[in-house]
Symmetry: D2
Subunit: 361 residues, 4 copies
């Protein structure tokens, strides 16, 4: 069983079918085809306004290209210190922005607090010796599986507007956050001040489909050139567009996300019922972060369950991983089955039992 990430599975059936369906026939290359045109219109419908959409190959590219439009080479981008753009993209933001700097703030659950962002902005020196702040980037859902509320996003949007910052959202798990909040795409983004969005669809059902969705038109102006010079304009554009057709049809994407989130809750509930298990952060999307006894961690590994240990850096103040404990991440995808979740909980439970049995009376 593989709970390592949501990119360890292929495409969901409707997505794959759309890909196969649109394989035949000649179409204009480089996104000049009709499917791409239709899907771009779908994005406008989804977001209830005109948006500029650019399809790229990876979430890293979506993030880095977004930031390159939002931050000049001599500017700062404020973000969480454990943001994916800081920790997991090998310097892509620095590469695409030509040297802009990411300023990482702490925050429980990898979330930024509007007040703390404002405080940081106030204490930044104002001189040409220091790079000026130009953008804010948040992850929705966060790297700790939490979801910003509309109010929280709106407050960050206010800080951005008040300080002349562009506002970027890394939506690698956009759908999971969306159904977690049960709100509309427009409400979760531009209505709260978001200017540019990395819209991820790969993890939630596609094989490879990532989009940059631009709400602030100025940020879209040169994006076509940016994408092309980054080698991110897919030659056979139908590849991405067709997947997204299957992804959006009949709200398949929302169904996928709901399924994953529901199973994540089931998993969280199952685990937290076990003695010695608690959650590092609440389960608000499709990721579960239990703190569990070492014995349970070992039992899961022995049983062949794949997953990652996780950093405790964004625990709530006062919370800690004790000796004899382990903080791990379990990711549930659209393709995870109920039985797999239940089996995982069972294995964990057996470790507890065994552990109890092994303990001296």
């Amino acid at each position: 069983m593989n709970f390592a990430s949501d990119n360890i599975v292929g495409a969901s059936a409707p997505v794959l079918e759309a890909l196969v369906r649109h394989n035949a026939g000649a179409m204009a290359a480089y996104g000049g085809d009709d499917i791409t045109r239709r899907i771009k219109a779908t994005f406008c419908d989804l977001f209830e306004r005109d948006v500029a959409v650019f399809f790229v190959a990876t979430g890293t590219a979506a993030n880095a290209l977004s930031l390159s439009a939002a931050v000049p080479p001599w500017g700062l981008c404020v973000c969480h210190r454990e943001a994916h753009i800081v920790d997991d993209e090998c310097g892509a933001p620095e590469f695409f922005t030509h040297g802009a700097k990411l300023v990482g703030l702490p925050g429980t659950g990898s979330k930024l607090d509007a007040g703390e962002v404002a405080a940081l902005l106030r204490r930044l020196p104002q001189s040409a010796k220091q790079m000026p702040p130009k953008a804010l980037s948040i992850s929705q859902a966060t790297e700790s599986g939490m979801v910003y509320s509309l109010r929280e996003i709106g407050a960050l949007g206010e800080v951005c507007r008040g300080n002349g910052l562009s506002f970027h959202m890394d939506g690698a798990r956009f759908a999971n956050a969306l159904v977690g909040l049960d709100v509309s795409p427009a409400d979760m983004t531009w209505r709260q001040g978001v200017d540019i969005l990395s819209f991820g669809a790969t993890k939630n059902g596609c094989l490879m489909a990532e989009a940059i969705v631009v709400f602030e038109p100025a940020l879209a102006e040169a994006m076509e050139y940016r994408c092309k010079r980054a080698g991110q304009v897919i030659s056979k554009g139908r590849l991405v567009a067709a997947q997204l057709e299957g992804y959006f049809a009949a709200d398949h994407w929302l169904a996928n996300a709901r399924w994953a989130n529901a199973l994540a809750r089931r998993l969280a509930d199952g685990l937290t019922r076990l003695p010695g298990v608690r959650l590092a952060w609440p389960t608000q999307a499709n990721e579960v972060f239990p703190i569990l006894p070492l014995a349970m961690d070992s039992a899961l590994r022995r049983a062949g369950v794949a997953f990652h240990p996780w950093t405790a850096a964004s625990l709530a103040p006062g919370e800690a991983v004790a000796e004899g404990e382990r903080l791990i991440r379990l990711v549930v995808s659209f393709a995870t089955e109920e039985a797999q979740v239940d089996r995982l909980v069972e294995i964990a439970a057996s470790a507890t039992a065994r552990h109890a049995a092994d303990s001296p009376v």
Copy 2:
């Protein structure tokens, strides 16, 4: 009928089938899966030696990343002045190399001559005011549809070795060139001194499958980091690897290229039999570049044939496109049908007939 390019079609059947076949099940992400491992071994078999292979999303990325390993930011890369890297990638080489400069030489059929490259190198000033030459890049097949012979590649390889240059080959149409020469991949590359290759599979049967193949180990050292920071490490790596499995199985890729090349020859033969038609350059791969009467160009357009006009900049000395003529490019792909080729020739022929009929006696 669409002869605009070889990227206007989807995947060939075996490629699509492999993609579908490998969609199910959990696999390590980011190229850690078994299919990717097997395909990398296949590359070693194909090239009869150890090679480092990196999969990227586009040919532009493959070229620009290759050049970034071959040329430092302050170096020159010699190439043909109409090379794809010069004209069609919106500055991707300059972006990925952090500012290296492409020095474009002229040459009939978009081919570089070893003697002329050597002469250029001799006349470049030797001072820190001028960027030093560090790499040579050729396209095989060229932008004019011609194919370098092994001897020609070898001579360029000699010049590179003698001058401390890395040697890059843009193989967007590698398979077409290969079957055009009827040689082995090893003979067409590293045995002639090629250090790094952009291996294109998208145009010849895949939906999206491009590889950087590195023969000179030093150029591979940091490539993993380069790819990651460029947003070119595909999350669900099976996407590319599965396609390539279908591509290579039972020499499907060679069959595809042979088909396209044969039809291109058929097209060239058909057209040159018509009065007033001659070839700008010999047809050596899957592209045909006829110089034809304006009336024929119009007739083709009227009949809905899609194709591109082409630049006359690399015609042989003395050759020219006269008034009343047009130089066009017709690209044949693995998916083109004999009947389409014949129909195109028919349409062209009818224009000649009509033109003849219209002429005053």
Copy 3:
């Protein structure tokens, strides 16, 4: 005798005196001092309008920083194919612009023709595959020692305005061009549409004083950050400002340039009176480009005269350097003495005499 360049001498007396005079006492660093403030005001006076001024260490930095404000990383900068920014700055423009591309046009005397620039702009393809033109850069005086007339600059300015291009002038020899035309700084720059200027003072009397003068305010917005991150904000700012005080006082700079230009004309006149000597380009500033017999070239070298051979690439159509001839550059500076010029002509003349004597009757 050294006619190799105008940067082979130190500072002129008034410049050095000002430097020494302002050495004592505490002053704010990084250009916050009063001399710098005064000199910035002097620039506004000289150019008869508000200008933003930034002092940098080298002409290369002035050019590259100017271009970085004028051209985005994915843009083209049109210039002469022998421009200093193309040939002599080791890729500084590419470095500072983060990858923009210089497109070099031919032109007699290293001058661009407005009509030819317009024609180039019309034939550039309009697609995201190709970098869009964003700036034009000219050298005044040119690399061939010629000076654009106001009408010629104005015509180029028109082309820029009509095509959305920023207009940069490399004024490494600004003063020599200015007195060559006998016009005002305002007339030679922004009144003809120039947006940003590299104002060189080093060659014409300073030890190191180069300024970026910005007429189009948008191009100045981030310049302070650009300069700082480029390591171009001189810590003890008085160094540059003090020199410029001496440079501008009592029109010393114009006197220096007039002297050099007059001696250059004297040199040109002296040489062209000799048999077998003609000018490659008219002498319009402080550089002389004679085409002379090999024997004369040898005689000068033997006599210890330092100078550079020069490229014939920008000769007028039909003109050429014959076998037995050499094209050389002789640069006259503010510090050159009349006697040195006359002595050079004498040496050249003696070679002719000797050559005549050696010739068979």
Copy 4:
């Protein structure tokens, strides 16, 4: 009285005299002159080995160019989190390295501890998602005016060697640190494993003279090109070389530094004798960082003393600036006079007296 920095004064007399002395006559430009050659030899003598030396205009350029040779665009450079390269260079390191990332560690007195650096290196993840560590940079003296001992530098050098890191020293106040330790340049640098040094001479007596001194030959290989493309090759190279001649002659530079350090100690002693004053960090070079009562801070300002408030971020654990206190930086230069130091202490003392008088009994 100005204690704001050591770059608020001009050149010391011997430096200025050398500059004036070498102003006359023709010399090869761009560092091809004889003075430059002699000074480069002087550096080899000073460092008791062959070193490659490159002169640049600013300390920022020296640091950023050094780092660009030491760290690839995808690499990390470990440094103190308050290092000048992090805080005061507006992203120059990111610009020159093309995107490398600075990883800032805490440390009392802005000093890095070898054990903590080693611990950081051990806990960095090893994957292509994360930038690999490639260099270490320290400031000698530090931003808190402290000086690393030879043993401490050597320990850091060991960590570098053991982990494949290049070792850079920012020596903006190299001379002050050197005489502070009373050791040789060789002992303080390459004998402890330093690979590349920013050698600052501007603050300690020059108007503008900064050098990159390279001990590890591989780091020097492309430096000439790096300097040129950064616009850092001073055209009239004598400007820098002549200053350095005056700087090094008769150990003038060491005398300057000894003077400044001695006065700094005098200042520190004078201040700490006052009630309510203590040092944030020991005075080991030419900077004093007193923590003093607000009233004293105000008195100094009222008396027109120029200085900067300072950050408390690198105080020793347990130490803090209380309410009613202020942490400030006072910089003493070669040009500071004893009387100025004494006068400053007097003003401070009077504030204490007044404050005492004002206090309720």
